[in-house]
Amino acid sequence: DTAVSQTPKYLVTQMGNDKSIKCEQNLGHDTMYWYKQDSKKFLKIMFSYNNKELIINETVPNRFSPKSPDKAHLNLHINSLELGDSAVYFCASSQVSGGNYNEQFFGPGTRLTVL
């Protein structure tokens, strides 16, 4: 009973291709996130959706487009892949309630390699 799942786990593709990563959570949370972890292991927020509404949209190239069909799913589509997009992408979810934040639960990550 995986809490946050991502597919695929590994993605190897050529420069210029378009690819998607899917994320699903079964925790009933109302907020989902995409993070990028680079080669230096730094985890950086990319997007956040709360109840299917985009809340956080950091300085990310517009080649990256998130889509949330429902509260349990958040997908990431990447157009025209570049070498610098190679990284591990993590999906996470949390329940946002009141003023304080709750912990985030992370998926296993998708390692993207652009050749």
Binding site: V4, T31, Y35, K40, K41, F42, L43, K44, I45, S48, N50, I55, I56, F90, A92, V96, G99, N100, Y101, N102, E103, Q104, F105, F106, G107, P108, G109
Partner: protein
């Protein structure tokens, strides 16, 4: 801009040798200070949340504390299985959580 700085970047301990990891944060209106553990090839795993200065939380050999500018993760008598990267994160405005670079801990038998 929100900032989280962790030190040291890497720490090597003998089994049983206690130590502390530091997390300094600059966040306007802290809404939670989080500690995570990340093993190689896996996603971060939640350890603790702290909300107020003076708050402490414990779990097995780990204890997290919080002041108005810093958080510490104290590791008492660590074991080899405690080897991992420990990430600190601070929650600021607009539901944004900013992560530090992490401290890579190695515990040697």
């Amino acid at each position: 801009e929100d900032q989280v700085t962790q030190s040291p970047e890497a720490l090597r301990l003998q089994e049983g040798e206690s130590s502390s990891l530091n997390c300094s944060y600059t966040v306007s209106g802290l809404r939670g200070l989080f500690w995570y553990r990340q093993d190689p090839g896996k996603g971060p795993e939640f350890l603790f949340t702290l909300y107020s200065a003076g708050e402490e939380k414990e779990k097995e050999r780990l204890k997290a504390t919080l002041t108005k500018k810093e958080s510490f993760l104290h590791i008492t008598a660590p074991k080899p299985e405690d080897s991992a990267t420990y990430l600190c994160a601070a929650g600021g405005g607009y539901q944004k959580v900013t992560f530090g670079i992490g401290t890579k801990l190695q515990v040697i038998p």
